[in-house]
């Protein structure tokens, strides 16, 4: 095979058995890799109900690379970690950049399928086509940075690691898996799944590299992407200021959330204080990159003064700055950098953690958490107020260790709201149990339908809407011109096409930020050049549809209904001020159009014919449609 190693490794942690599986080329062609191939492998293992819960030993955890990972095209670093989400109970997937994907392929495997649970903590060493489980008792209890340091001391600096911190060990429902230091597979709680298996870490190292089918075809593609990148405003801004370079300009569009999504505007100076340009002038020490990336969006920061020092290391990106900043009305970048460092070390998703704390601040304000006043989570629960960064940082610690109120908040906003009663549901800002990413569906109505119908919950990357609202078009697929941001007309089609493209990008291992400069036609050419599969635009478009239907279908098998495809009540309330004043997405219109485009009935179930046309007859059988 080209682009692929051609081998997967299945590990049963309960029996300590490992099994190599040859990757079927037809399966690879049809599902590509990443979360796409992982979803197909998950479906194959799902069996008849009752299905194992997310944290049951039988639930698989799948680490999957894509064919472009590790090759010399910009932004070919990604991989996916997938399973049943402890946050939603539905399909879960987390995407991560860095260097692990090429390292795993170098170690001899395209992906890992992990089932069972170890009797005692272990780590998995994958090296040059061999796999071994090793004792991790000494590592258990360590944060991810210390774990990475210990493992590279043991296996050499070339070793690439995935690890969980205390949050994953403590089964925090939004625990992340951290690659090396600061590359994070953050969303949907895959760190908790790993923790439930008592798998502390995975180490990959090796010297292999799958061949490319048509190397000469890659060079002009690479040059074309780099040329476009040099002229692309967004790429240049991200290069200079990281993704947080979008903070101020985003606020002008109403994209940035304030005060748990309840305010339309905030103090201009406070927003400027959070912008990537301010970071560059204050705490920035350098930038970092992933494999084969010329953008280098990663921030390196250090804070030596003030109450929250941060050691030189990975800094916050936009989502983190917004989640711990604007959402909680904190305008102190140094404190946000400290929150980022703590989340990275504990292994916590910064979006869900910051959003859950913002939810808790509002709950404190409304007197809904009075019973936890002496829970010992933080020194003074009444201090958990808007803008109080010290109390917020304390709460991060309490969540990771499940101390006092932290134990409830470790379950996530939706579970906490359910526990606190109907009054809390009003300001629980989640979709399918996943806290919203930091982009407003009031500003971009296409995001609203994108969030509501993303299989993993409120994901901003699932439909590429914010890229399209930022100027990216897909003329080959019918998205030829921009649409008004605060209008719901035509947004169902836009989101459906965006989902199809995003599914393929994710499956292939392309970084979303680099994909700004890669047209769909070039995406097809790149996949064909690397894999040797004679992909066409039509086939790639059909694969995108297949992957979305597959993940949606898995959700249905796991109990999802049309009621889960919705936006939380708070976002359907218009704001009184700011750039999105009065803007409310028309969910009824967009859902009606979207369901028609996807051939879903009113209950969200797909038509058999549609599934068969995209090669999902087996899913149709499982769904009994």
């Amino acid at each position: 095979m080209y682009g692929y190693v051609g081998r997967l490794l299945e590990i049963d942690l309960s029996s300590r058995a490992t099994r190599e599986i040859n990757l079927d080329p037809e399966l690879a062609r049809a599902y590509i890799g990443g979360s796409g191939l992982a979803a197909r492998l998950y479906l194959d293992r799902l069996g008849a109900p009752p299905h194992p819960g997310p944290l049951d030993p039988a639930a698989p955890l799948i680490v999957m690379t894509g064919p472009v990972a590790g090759h010399l095209l910009p932004g070919t670093s990604r991989f996916a970690i997938c399973g049943r989400s402890p946050q939603s109970g539905f399909w879960g997937e987390a995407s991560c950049g860095g260097f692990f994907a090429p390292a795993l392929k170098a170690a001899g495997y395209d992906g890992l399928i992990i089932v069972g649970a170890a009797a005692a903590p272990v780590y998995l060493l994958v090296e040059n086509g061999t796999a071994e489980l090793r004792d991790a008792a000494e590592l258990w209890g360590s944060d991810t940075y210390a774990t990475h340091d210990a493992l590279t001391a043991r296996h050499g600096a070339a070793a690439r690691t995935l690890s969980i911190g205390q949050a994953g060990e403590n089964l925090v429902r939004y625990a992340a898996i951290v690659h090396d230091k600061g590359h994070v597979a953050g969303r949907t709680g895959m760190g908790a799944v790993m923790g439930s298996k008592r798998l502390k870490a995975i180490v990959a190292l090796g010297r292999g590299k799958p061949p490319v089918a048509a190397p000469p075809a890659l060079k002009p593609l690479r040059e074309a992407v780099l040329a476009k990148q040099g002229e692309n405003l967004t790429s240049q801004t991200i290069q200079a200021y990281g993704t947080d370079g979008a903070m101020y300009v985003g606020s002008l569009m109403g994209d940035v959330p304030f005060r748990n999504w309840s305010m339309g505007e905030w103090d201009d100076a406070a927003i400027q204080a959070l912008d990537g340009a301010t970071m560059a002038e204050t705490i920035l020490t350098g930038s970092g990159t992933c494999h084969s990336c010329s953008v280098a969006c990663k921030r390196e920061v250090a804070v030596s003064d003030g109450p929250h020092p941060v050691a030189q290391g990975p800094g916050p990106e936009y989502e983190t700055v917004a989640a711990f900043g604007s959402l909680a009305l904190v305008s102190d970048l140094k404190a946000i950098a400290a929150a980022n460092e703590r989340c990275n070390r504990y292994g916590l998703d910064t979006i869900s953690c910051g959003a859950t704390i913002a939810f808790a601040i509002e709950a404190v304000e409304r007197g809904l958490l009075d019973e936890f006043a002496s829970s010992g989570a933080i020194s003074s629960l009444s201090a958990l107020t808007w803008g109080n960064s010290a109390a917020i940082l304390e709460m991060v610690d309490a969540i990771a260790t499940r101390r006092g109120l932290g134990d409830l908040l470790a379950e996530g906003s939706a579970a906490a709201a359910a526990r606190l009663g109907p009054a809390a549901a009003e300001f629980d800002v989640t979709v399918k149990g996943l806290e919203l990413a930091m982009h407003s569906p009031r500003a971009y109505h296409g995001l609203a339908i994108g969030y509501a119908t993303a299989p993993r919950g409120a994901c901003h990357n699932a439909a590429n809407v914010y890229l399209m609202m930022g100027g990216v078009l897909y003329p080959e697929l019918g998205i030829e011109e921009g649409l008004p941001e605060q209008s719901s007309e035509g947004k169902a089609f836009l989101s459906a096409v965006g989902q199809d493209v995003a599914c393929v990008q994710n499956a292939a291992s392309f970084c979303m930020l680099n994909s700004l400069n890669l047209s769909v036609t070039e995406l097809v050419e790149a996949l064909a050049a690397i894999t040797g599969f004679p992909y066409t635009l039509e086939e790639i478009s059909q694969i995108g549809q297949r992957l979305w239907q597959l993940k949606h279908g898995i959700n249905l098998l796991l109990g999802a209904t049309a009621a889960d495809d919705r936006l939380p009540p708070r976002l359907l309330q218009p704001l009184a001020d700011g750039p999105t004043a009065g803007s409310v997405p028309d969910m009824a219109l967009m859902l009606r159009e979207f369901y028609a485009l996807r051939d879903l009935d009113a209950t969200g179930r797909p038509a058999r014919g549609r599934l068969e046309r995209v090669g999902l007859g087996a899913l149709a059988d499982a769904l009994q449609v």
């Binding site: 801004t237 370079g245 002008l252 569009m253 340009a277 930022g470 100027g471 990216v472």
Partner: protein, 137 residues
């Protein structure tokens, strides 16, 4: 039909808001610090305005200017009008080419927070000139 009937009217309106920025204390300090020379090239009507932050005081030239620009911003006069009314998705406009920027983009983005207060001033400038009818076009 274009918003501005001729270059003179554009200089009066867009030049007016740029002149406000030139003389505003906060903006002028930040702009001087950037050292940028920005040339705005407009179409419909064809016209250009240069804001020179390399000099103290900052100079504004409506019409052709000898100073070599460090940044060229090219757009239609209608887009410029909508921008100062705060109605343009800046990132989309730049990405899709409705506004073209040539020069150090990060430096331009850094000036954004400094110039956006003029969104509120621009309608006042139009009103002062008796051009209220242009505010909602």
């Amino acid at each position: 039909m274009p918003v501005f009937k001729d270059a003179e009217q554009l200089y009066d309106c867009i030049g007016g808001v740029l002149d406000y920025l030139r003389t505003d204390e906060t903006v002028s300090v930040a702009f001087r610090k950037s050292g940028l020379v920005i040339r705005f090239k407009y179409s419909d009507p064809d016209s250009e305005i240069t804001l020179d932050g390399s000099q103290d005081p900052i100079t504004l030239t409506c019409g052709p200017c000898d100073r070599a620009p460090t940044v060229d911003m090219t757009m239609s006069a209608d887009t410029a009008h909508q921008f100062w009314l705060g109605k343009v998705n800046l990132v989309a406009a730049l990405t899709r080419g409705a506004m073209k920027a040539k020069g150090p983009i990060p430096a331009i983005m850094k000036l954004l927070p400094v110039i956006t207060p003029a969104y509120k001033k621009y309608p006042d400038i139009l009103r002062e000139k008796g051009l209220d009818n242009l505010i909602n076009v």
